[in-house]
């Protein structure tokens, strides 16, 4: 029984190491992809796209573009629906998605 368990655990160890390697590889691929100049320029959505993703479509849609590591704090509803944003690396852009 002990040897059986030992074998199982070593197989799981191998499987986990393989996953770690794939996760690192995939994270690197994604970072290179999103940081590529051309892709950066083509990495956008249109206002109409945003309207197509909310249900019902005629809602207020607020878009927030913030520098990296901006802190967002959302309060527990019992304290009121409150969101605070605090950036340390630059101004935060907030705008409403136009209706049409």
């Amino acid at each position: 029984r002990f040897q059986e368990l030992q074998k199982e655990v070593s197989e799981l160890t191998e499987a986990e190491e393989k996953l770690d390697e794939l996760i690192n590889k995939c994270s690197l691929q994604l970072r290179l992809l999103t940081e590529d100049t051309h892709n950066k320029k083509l990495g956008y959505v249109r206002c109409q796209d945003l309207r197509n993703t909310v249900d019902p479509p005629d809602q207020i849609i607020m878009v927030i573009r913030a520098p990296a590591e901006t802190a967002m704090q959302v309060s527990e509803p019992s304290e009121g629906y409150q969101i605070s944003l605090k950036s340390s690396k630059g101004p935060i852009d907030v705008f409403l998605c136009p209706e049409d």
Partner: protein, 48 residues
């Protein structure tokens, strides 16, 4: 417990951080309570 603090501004963060927030917001009976007692809109808790 009364607040969720996350970091935004990076590309492609982990998906589930907003799921937790949306669950917290939609699970609240706060709006229900307010509509029951006919309360007016909440006073802003604090101002910058």
């Amino acid at each position: 417990r009364s607040r969720i603090l996350i970091s935004i501004g990076e590309s492609f963060g982990s998906a589930d951080k907003f799921q937790k927030i949306n669950q917290m917001l939609s699970s609240s009976d706060w709006s229900l309570k307010r509509s029951l007692d006919g309360g007016s809109a909440p006073k802003p808790l604090k101002r910058l």
